[in-house]
Structures are given as structure tokens and as C-alpha cells.
Symmetry: D2
Subunit: 408 residues, 4 copies
């Protein structure tokens, strides 16, 4: 049988970011073969490399899988062609051969020009439209459920260019973190670097926060960082707000995982008292206005006026009046708050962090702090190398960071 | 200062369930002292023990904490008194000294009679009302948000009787499971026992299911168990439904954690194709009706007509039309489906399992299957001893169970 | 069939230490039944409880197993009888029905008197002999391989009294550590308590140390604690000495697990240079004498003159001249060094810590520091409640401890 | 300051094995810079790539570190020069600038010829000698302690050629194992492949075995594999032999970790009875001769006559008469037994497996079976890609393997 042959091109830090190796892996493991028709290596650490390959495969289905994966890895396939646009057959439904987005910088070729795709996020589709009042078209990532009938949806792989992030060797100065095993010595070094990054005031910093921050004694330090203007938006769940307010009102939540409630701990249900008190006041903001909640994370979030969203979950007690119980609405609010963010600080909150990770471009830097190395590994494994993992007690981390940014 | 003194009574398998030791621990660790005024030990494995104690404490706040905890442990405090009822000051708001429920069998003393509290769940309040058309009052657990203004809410600790579950030594025949370290040999023994329990047809069995069931190849076996009538309701999230349908339509989801999406795997976004296909058909049921989805878990759930609920989450792609995106509504649907359940089979779904665990009385047996021992520990630690943990590959577990209940 | 009946007695903190529950568990799970013939509960936290039981079992083998286990739990069986002594048939061989020791305080009844068993350790036998120059007999624990032909070995279960350690509620002030999940806040509290315990100078403190102490930057702090006289003996393996010396001579061993040697790290084999340098000097002490090793743990051990033993292992490089390569000899040296110890500080060294745990009576307090909670759980699970587990970076722990005991 | 410049060359699967990226990483992270002077990429999956680089660095110490690491990665430095040989100054002592071995195929240039280094192992030195009765010199890896005064030891980096193993894509057919997360489905696939590899009879297979094999019920299956001639040598510790014999004689060791001995389990000290019984018979072989040990792993090892070594450890009870208590002697016996081995089957024995891993060339295939993924990761991280990790119950693995190789 005559093999299908396709020519692809790619360019970047192909070797040191491991991309070239991944490209070869993809082709071989999906049953293809390749021939490198041209290769120019970057002569030093700064220069890009360039490669041209012929990819061969007997089976059209496998060939299609290979090309989809190579596209994600930044390879251009028929890159000089126009992008293929097809109308959405109904609201929330796209054509079967839709192109799904990665979190890497993406452009599509429309009318002979490359349009950069805006509002990049993972697992969306690209819709091309004419910008109102402009002659030029624009391209935007949309969630499936936001697509309207007859929207022009990008399909197939022609005319699409993806630029994966590269391992930026030493540029961020976090190279010493590579092995993720963080002794206290290393934590101090990381905090120093994080303080430089977020202390400059030039970066938009969003904090994603789990209840462990309260349990490990980090409330006052995080509140201080918010109060001093270092955090520009706050994302969390119902639990972190409840435990923070419980802690400020009643002094409890000392390290126990209250979300489960072991038998011995059943007695002091102070998180229920806290919820009841807020419902009495009408809202968290109401309790702040009454002067009864005058410290802690939520107090600092509300008085500093930064945008925030508390997303609900199936496990919630209450929930608080502020908690957004509809998940579509919560996703939309999160996406709005995350627009234009430079750095996301993920504090011991695996699930929210994964959700947020899917909403942001790979170029947004993420700093994940968790005592559990497995969480760090999961969070870093999202195709971005702008990701720092710190295995440590989050209370200790916030204490050192506040020492450096607020108390110095 | 004169110490406060309070007399308490308790009765049950105080020693072998560890309750007596927990009672002493609570008193000492919260700063009290005690004197055992009477103790009668059960003479053999079946007899109850009885104890009367005087509890002393100088500090009224600590004394209150001690009494709250002792109440959770099944101690009666002023048990001959009437329960104290106070009107709810507003919708969703209860009096500050509300009594919060455990998941243990609870009665309240009203008009000289003990009323058993219905619709038991953790972290609710007890509301006493006159049953329509009946002369007797009734008592019911309610979530805070469901309380209406002027409902009669149980407050304080008088007139409340809690009966904790006991370690039922050898009665369930799972004593060999005690150490939770499950080799394959042990898994076969557990499956045998589970098969006897759920195969009898006399128990209502609800399954809580995570996407790992699909990744480990358990779909066909679970579908067969549902089809054969061994599972009477299905609870899960958007993800398990999406991955199940992706698996049936496109054959993928082979063990990779698709919820995160590593770089190499980005190419075959078959879960997005599956979501798009269902939206095209209007619903999962619509795709079944079209004849295009004719196998797998969701197919079996829909064709067998059992009740089910798919709860949304912040991380969802899609979500599917069937997914309940509002968390309050999802909790309410879960609670309705869980009424009258005898056994909950928790299959590799920590978060849903924790949520469900809070909704059911301690006497409902839970069987938790997960490859991660830490998950098992968390799930078992809910104050119930009717809880079996099986550390194993969930695909293997379902395979052996279907061998025994469907294919034999 | 007529059941075998045996009467047993026990006394102690039977309820709060969980012993009574364990006694019941043992009887039921091995197929017996029981009747409590007498029970007097301790009226308060300080008083002992006393119990008498009849144990019934049909099968003599199971009955024997039950009695063996009950003996370990501190129950006296035919306690008024004399102990049964039989001569060892050969060097290193004991009679088949030998009594094997636990690590709990044990006495044997000889000539109508109770002799306390000396040199207590786990998994040995008790040999009774006439002390030279004394009229009274004495009893001593021996390893099997040290028994000589015709030694009088304790057999069966008569005339043996074991006193298990009790949960000493609040006496050591470590009750806040119960759940083993240590945030940085808790670590500071533990260090404070440990400093009080070992800083008094009245306790003999032995340190068991793994190479992670060097990797986490704890060398200088541990050396300072040894130099200031707070550590009275040092136990470790070849690896900790090699990495310590490598660190002092060449500044490397920065957090990487050198014991395995990943590809990238192969280049700087400084641990081999360190070994070679010591062999050139003849010994570690020789290198200290030459003035070439003037800091670090081993320097401090040697110059302070405390006893030490470096045990070899199958994985060792070198080993160092000081390393004891024969395991029988290493066990004997360890046992000698551990005589009379009050506190063992176990620093990130699971295997040495388990070995040492078997050599010491349960009443010796152990303080285990490790970043891995699973290690702590294993080490604490040795039948002693005098055991503190601290889940933290060992470098941080030593830093705080030296701050408190040396630098203050 | 004028930078030092060094020209290096390398050749192999530089991209797909990640070597080129590692070479760049090493240079940059140790403070150097580079210029690629020539690069020829392999045009397809089978062809080698070739590279020539100029490495620049200001600091001679850093330059030396870089060159050491590059040498480990297979780069030739001054490869046309003769190797530098220096005499050992004393027994067990080598010159300070000794070259330390990796586990990768290595040659040294002597008299204008390349000699392949024999008896390759990690962390040794290379000694060049004249083979008795031959005109040509030979090169051999030696442990430091085996070097004799005046032996000709390879020093520096000139005239040394290392050939790292490459990721042999798809050649071994284990590519589906890449992510190490093994569901039961995957385990069946791996067993199939392992059976093909070791069932051919053309490979020398050595088994490294921990006591978990006994606890998970794998004894009979491993014994059957040994009896059928599929295992050609057996390496383990005292514990696996003791637990195996205990299991055969008394039927116990049911999954509990007897090496620690929890309180409840103290009663049936059958491992001590087993040790005593063997000492009575004089040896394990003696007990086999008496006909009293007629099944199990050790019985199969002894009756099949394969070479074996039981290495002692500090934690041993007994130990058995056969156990080699001196670690130098045990290492020497291990090394002798491992000569000429093609495959090492590592069964749930982290410590022995690490020790064995250091003794064998990278080209020896290792198959590691363990329920704990962290162990697999550690064992695979030894610079060899001929390494398969299977995360599963070892009892299940052996059961399936014996099904395939013995019972089919």
C-alpha cells in the first residue's frame, strides 16, 4: 500500500525543550515513520533550531492522529493554506472536525494574514468573526457552550500555527527547583524569587486558595499580602471562606481537616456557627459592615475591593450567600477575573488549581505550593514550563513571603 | 473556683468500640476531670456495658465543648428533660445555640416521648413539627438553607439521645480487612463477601462512580452489574459520563488522566468530540434513542431506568445537558436518591464519596474501592464502622464482582 | 465438645490505652469466647482498672495462640505458678516451646519470687541463671544466637508477667501531636518540648541518623548539638558518614539522593573522592588528626568522644574503615551503646530506626523526624506509646532545635 | 579573563534519548556556554546523529565538572589521546584524580587501541593490566577496596569513551508502559511480554526478592518458576528466607509486615520458631535433607541447585546459618552471581534492588515489580532505559507469570 506522506515544519528551542524528541515519539508510537529533510541546530543557548520532516503513514486514521498531535507540539502542516471555517450547526454544537485549542499561543491564517487567537484557553474551539467597526477579522477561543448557530468555527489542521512554550533555561532563575524536592533551604530561595516577581508591582497576580491555608496558620499572612496590594484577585471555594471566617470569629480550625469531620471533632461545629452568623448578617460583606468580621482573608479581600469568586461544590455546607453555586456561572466569572493575569499563585488547592490551569494560556506563570509532591506533579504537568512547584507547608511559605514583602 | 459538675450516662459496646476511651480523651484533652460513679461491663461479646460519670470543669466554655463532644459520642446529658425548641429568626437562619446533627441515630424528647429524628445527615439541624393529620409531633434533619422562619429548631443539649454505631465485631464478616493493606488474595475474599451482600437483592445499592472506572477498563463490568439489577441508583460527575461515552464512541481514554491533559495527549481530544456529539443529539438519552450509544455505563443507566444524578464541577468540559450545574440542586437530588439506601459502593471517586458520606446515616454501609490507601483512610474516617475499604485497581474489583454476580 | 477454659487477670489503664478492647479483639478474632468475671474501673484518669476473665475455646491450637497474644498484652495466665525452664539443646538453639520477648517490662516467677528481666529487647528469649556471687537467680533477655547449650530458657506462659506501656495521657505534653500532620506551627511546639526533654541534661540521648540530615542542610546544627553535649551516642550507616565528610571536604551533596546516582549527577562523584581520601588517611579519625576534617557531624562525633557505630549495608560504597561490615558485630555494638538510654532521636533513617526500635525496651522514648508520614507511622507502630512522630524537613527541625539549645 | 575552550564530540540517538538536551543542560547549569560546530541529525528512527561542540567556561573548576558530566553522557574529550594511568599509592587507595565508572559501556585507549572495560559496575575505578599470557593489555572495573598498591589506575578524562544506553524505542515492545500507572489490564500485557523474554531460555535471569512475595501469596508461584528452570540465580535477604520457611512450616505470615511486629501480632512469633528449627537442623539445606522443608521458595532454590546469596542486615532476627553477615563478602558474592546476567527480576525489594542496580551494566534489563510507584521511580532512575516498572501486587504478577510459563 502506498503510504500517505505529509511535510511539516517547526522552529524553536527544539532540542533543549525536548520538543524534537516528542515529535519523533508521536510519529513512531502512532505507527508512522519519518525522514528529516532539513535540520539546522541553534548554535548556542539563545538561537532557535529549525526542522523540516516528511511524515509517512499507511493508515489515514493514524496519520490524522499524528498530525493532530504534531500540531499541538507546534508543527505547521500546510501552513501556507487558509484556515478552514465551517458554520456551527446549532447553538452549543460545532462541526465534527472542529479544531480544539491547547493553552499555547495560536494563530490562524485568514485572508492571507495570521490572526492571533484571543482569550486563549484549553479545550475550546476557535471562532473567527469580523470585529465590529473594523475591516479585519478577529479570532477568539470559545467554550463549546458559548458557540452560537452559524458562528465560523475553525476546522481541520490547515492554516493553524501553535507556538509551544519553551523551557526557558535559567531565565526565570528557578532552575534550582527542577527536582521538586524542597528542603527548607530551598523554600527560602524560592520565596526570595517569588517576592522579586510579585513585589515589583508590574505583574497582575491572582491567588487560588484552599482551606489548608487557614489550617496551617497562613490566614494573617495572606490577608497582609492582599492588604498590601500584592494580590489582585482571589479565587477559592466555599470551604476556604467558611474556615477563614470560623477561624476569625471562633479561633478554631486548627489544622484538622474539617471538611470530613472525624468523630472526635464533631463537637465543636464552629464552621456551622460561622455559616449561620453570615446568613444572619445577609452576606460576608454584611458581617464586615457590622464590624463583626474585622480580620482574616475574606475581610482583606472585601475591604481591599479586589475581584473574587467563591465557587460552590457538591460537598459544601451552607453555602455562603456569596458562593456561586452554578458551575457554568462560576467558570464564566473565573475566566473574566483571569483575563490579563501574569502570575497565578496556587495555594494548596488541587481542584481549583486544575480548573484554573485549563482557563489560562501556557505563558501565564503558575506557582504551586503544596505539602504533597503528587499535587505539584499533577499541576505542573499541563504543557507549560512557566510553572514552579514548591513542596512545603503553605503556612510557612506565606509567613516567609509576608516577612519579605510586608514586614521588611 | 468551684468547678462545674455535670452527670452523664451512656450505654453500648463502650469498650470494644473504643467509645469509653474516646469519652475519657475528650474530657481530659479539653481540660476537664471525671469520676466514674458506676460501671457495669458487658460480660461477653454481645452484652452492652453501662456507665455513669461525673464530669468536672472550671471553665464554662470548655465544659460546653466537652458536653457537645460527649453528646456526639452518645452520652445523654440531662436526658430526662424536654428538648429545647426555639423559632428560626429568618429563612435559612437558626438560633445561635442550635444543635448540629451527626450521622448517628438520634432521638429528641418532646412532650415526654422520644421522637426518632428522620432524614438523618451530618451537619444539619433538627426541626420539630406537627405532622399534618397526626396528633404526634415529628422531628426531621434539615439543611440550614431549607429552614424557614419560625421553624422550631432544636437548641442546646438537653433531651437529645445519640446512639453511635458500634464496631460490629465479625457480624459483617469483614474483620480480615482491618488493616486495609489489600493483596490480590484479600481482594478475592472481599469480592466474595460484597457479592453475598448485594447479590441477595434485598438491599438498596447506590453506586458513586469516578472516571477511573473507565480508565481501568471497568465500564463493561459495571454496565453489566447495572443491567442485571444489582445497582439501584447511580451518582457521579460530568467527567465519568463524558469519559464513558468517549470510550464507547471512540475507544479511547485508555488509562490516561484526561482531566488534566498532558501535552503529548492533546492530539486526540475525543472527550470534546463526545461532548459535541451529545449536544448535537440533545442529550445522552437522545444519543441512546438514536441507537448511536449502545453500550457502556451511561447506556446501562439510562436503559435500566434507575435514578441518577451527574453533578457538575468547576473543572468540567461541556458540561453534558444532563449534568446538574447548580450545586444546591445537585445536593437536593443526591439526598432524594440516597433515601432508604442500605449500601453505597464508592468507586474511585473521593470527592463525590465525601459529599455522599455527609448525606447518609452512619448505619448505611459503605464499600470504598480505590488504588490509593490515603483515599480509603479519609473515606472510612467518618464515624461509621459500617465501612469497608478495598485498596485495589477498581477495574479488577469490578471484573471479579461481575464474574461472581453476572457471569457465574 | 467441651471447651477449654482458662482464667486470666490483668490490671492497668485498660480502657484509655485501648488494652481491654484489644484483649476482647484477640479472643474473638482467634475463635474464642469470654466472660468477664470481675471488672473494677479506675474512677479517674490516674487510677488503674482491674479485670478477670474466663476465656473459652474449643481448639487447643487456637487457645494457645490466644494465650500467647494475651500474654503480650499484659495478661497473667497461671501467674502464681513457677516459670517453666528448659535447657537449651545446643548453642544457638532453644526448646521448641520457648517464650519470646516483647519490648514491654517483663518479670518471671522463680522460686516464689518475681525477677525482672534485664536487657529487655524484642524477639529474644529469657535465660535464667544464678548471678555469680549472689544467692538469687537473675533473668536476662538473650538473642537466639547468644544462647549456649544447657542455658535455662523460659518456656510456655506460666509464671510470666508483662506490663505494657500505657498511653500516658498528657504526661509528656505531646498530646497535640496525636494526628501526626505537622504544620510548621506544630513543629515549633514540638521542638520546644523536645528541647525541654533533652536540654535538662538528665536524660541519656542517642541519635540515629540518616544521610538526609546532610542533604537538608542539618549537618552544622547536629554537629553543634553534639558539641554542646546534648547527644550522648551516635548510630548511623556508612552513607551518612560518607555524605557528611563529602559535604565538609567538597561542599556538595546538595539535596540530591546520592545513594542512587542519577545520570546527570554522575559527573561529580565527590563521595568517592571522600572515601578515597579517608582510606589514604587510614580512618576518619586519621583525617581529623591531620586537620583536614575540621567540621561536620563526624568531626563532632570524634572530637567529642561519644560512642558511635557505623553499620554497613549491601549498598555501601567503600565502605569507610570505621564501618562495621559484619551485621552480628554491628548489632552487638548497637545493643551495648543503647544500654541505659532514655531517649532515641531518629532522624530520617527508617531502616536503622526500625533496627534500633527492636533493641530497646518500650519505655525508652523515641522521637522520629521524617518528611514522609508513612515512615513515622511505621516507626510509631512498635507497641510503645512513648513515641513522638514529627512530619517535617529534618534540616528545619535541627535548625530550630539548635536555635533553642545551643544558640540561645 | 580568557575563557577555557574544549572541543567535544558525541554520536548516537542524541535527540530521541534526550542526550543532546542533557548535554546542553549540563553546560549551562554549571556556568558554561557552547557553540555547536557541527550537527548531523539521523534522518530516521534508526540512524545515529553526530555532534561536535566547543564548550567555553571561565572557571577551571566548573569546566572540570562540566567535562566530567559530559563524559558520563557519552561525550569524548581529547578522545584521540592515550588514557592516563597512574599507580595506586597504597592498597585500597587510588590517585586523587581517578576516573570513576558509570554503568554504561566504556572503553579506554591504551597503546593506540580501544580496550573495552570489563566487569562494568557503577562507582568503581578502571585498572589496566597485562593479561597473563597475552600480549595485549586489558581493562577492568574494580571496587576501591580491591585495588592493590601500584595497580595502573585510569585518571583524568582523556582517552575514555562512554556509550550511554539509548531509549530503544519500541524494540523491547514495552512502550505502552511508559507512564508507570499500571491498571490490571496493563499488568496482563506486561506479563505476556516478560513471559516471552524469560521463557525463551536464552537469557540468564536473576531474581532479587523481598519478603512481600511471601506475604502476598507468591511463594508457590515463584517456587514453580524456579523449579521449571526460568530463574537462574536468587538474591535476597535473611527476611525473605525466614518468612518463606515460616510460611511453609507454620502457614503464617499472612500479609502482615512481620519485620516490624505490631502489638497485636506479637503472639505468634512463628518466624522465631522457624529460625530456631533451622538452627536445630544446622542449615536450611539440612532441613530440606531431613524432609521437613519440602515446598516454598528456599526449598526450590536449594533443590534446583541454582546459585544464591542471602545478605544480612542490621534488622535481622537470627540470622539463618546461610545468611552472609559480612557486607563486603555479600557484595562480592552478589557480583560473582550477577556476572553474565541478561535480566534481573526485582520483586518488591527496594534496598536489595538498588544495591544490585549499582553492580550491573546499564545494558542488563531490569524488571521491577512493586505496589509502590515511588519505588519503581527510584529503581528506574539509574541511567538505564532497559528498565521496566510494573506497579502492581507482586503476588498477582507471579500468579499470572506462572500461569503463562509453568501451568500453560
Amino acid at each position: 500500500m502506498a503510504a500517505i506522506v505529509k511535510n511539516i515544519r517547526t522552529e524553536g528551542h527544539l532540542i533543549d525543550s525536548g520538543l524534537m524528541s516528542q515529535i519523533f515519539d508521536v510519529i513512531i508510537s502512532d505507527g508512522g515513520t519519518f525522514e528529516v529533510t532539513d535540520f539546522q541546530i541553534g548554535r548556542n543557548n539563545d538561537e532557535f533550531s529549525k526542522a523540516s520532516l516528511s511524515v509517512m503513514c499507511d493508515d489515514p486514521v493514524s496519520m490524522n492522529t499524528i498530525l493532530l498531535k504534531l500540531s499541538s507540539l507546534g508543527c505547521s502542516i500546510d501552513a501556507d493554506n487558509e484556515v478552514v471555517l465551517k458554520p456551527a450547526p446549532a447553538d452549543g454544537v460545532v462541526p465534527p472536525d472542529f479544531y480544539s485549542t491547547t493553552n499555547h499561543r495560536t494563530s490562524v491564517r485568514v485572508g492571507g494574514h495570521w490572526l492571533e487567537v484571543k482569550r486563549l484557553r484549553m479545550d475550546g474551539v476557535v471562532v473567527v468573526g469580523s470585529s465590529p467597526g473594523k475591516s479585519m477579522a478577529s479570532a477568539e477561543t470559545m467554550k463549546f457552550r458559548d458557540v452560537k448557530k452559524d458562528d465560523a468555527v475553525v476546522c481541520g489542521l490547515s492554516g493553524i500555527r501553535v507556538q509551544p512554550d519553551f523551557v526557558e533555561r535559567d531565565r526565570t532563575g528557578f532552575s534550582f527547583m527542577a527536582d521538586e524536592v524542597s528542603s527548607e533551604r530551598k523554600v527560602r530561595l524560592v520565596v526570595e524569587r517569588v517576592a522579586e516577581l510579585i513585589g515589583s508591582g508590574r505583574k497582575r497576580v491572582v491567588c487560588v486558595c484552599g482551606p489548608v491555608v487557614v489550617h496551617t496558620g497562613g490566614s494573617a499572612d495572606l490577608a497582609a499580602l492582599i492588604g498590601a496590594g500584592h494580590i489582585h484577585a482571589f479565587l477559592g471555594g466555599n470551604a476556604v471562606a467558611v474556615h477563614d471566617i470560623e477561624h476569625e470569629l471562633y479561633g478554631t480550625s486548627l489544622g484538622v481537616d474539617l471538611s470530613i469531620g472525624s468523630l472526635v471533632e464533631m463537637g465543636h461545629r464552629n464552621h456551622l456557627r460561622a455559616i449561620n452568623e453570615i446568613w444572619r448578617a445577609g452576606s460576608v460583606a454584611g458581617l464586615v459592615d457590622e464590624g463583626k468580621l474585622d480580620s482574616g482573608i475574606m475581610h482583606s479581600v472585601i475591604t481591599s475591593g479586589i475581584p473574587y469568586c467563591l465557587a460552590g461544590s457538591l460537598r459544601d455546607d451552607g453555602p455562603l450567600p456569596e458562593t456561586v453555586t452554578d458551575m457554568n456561572e462560576a467558570q464564566d466569572q473565573h475566566a473574566r477575573i483571569l483575563q490579563g493575569t501574569d502570575i497565578v499563585l496556587m495555594l494548596s488547592s488541587m481542584l481549583h488549581s486544575i480548573a484554573v490551569g485549563n482557563m489560562i494560556p501556557a505563558e501565564v506563570m503558575t506557582i504551586c505550593v503544596d505539602i504533597n509532591p503528587a499535587v505539584i506533579t499533577k499541576l505542573r504537568n499541563r504543557g507549560s514550563h512557566q510553572s514552579i512547584g514548591v513542596v512545603t507547608d503553605v503556612g510557612l511559605f506565606l509567613h516567609l513571603l509576608a516577612d519579605r514583602l510586608v514586614r521588611d
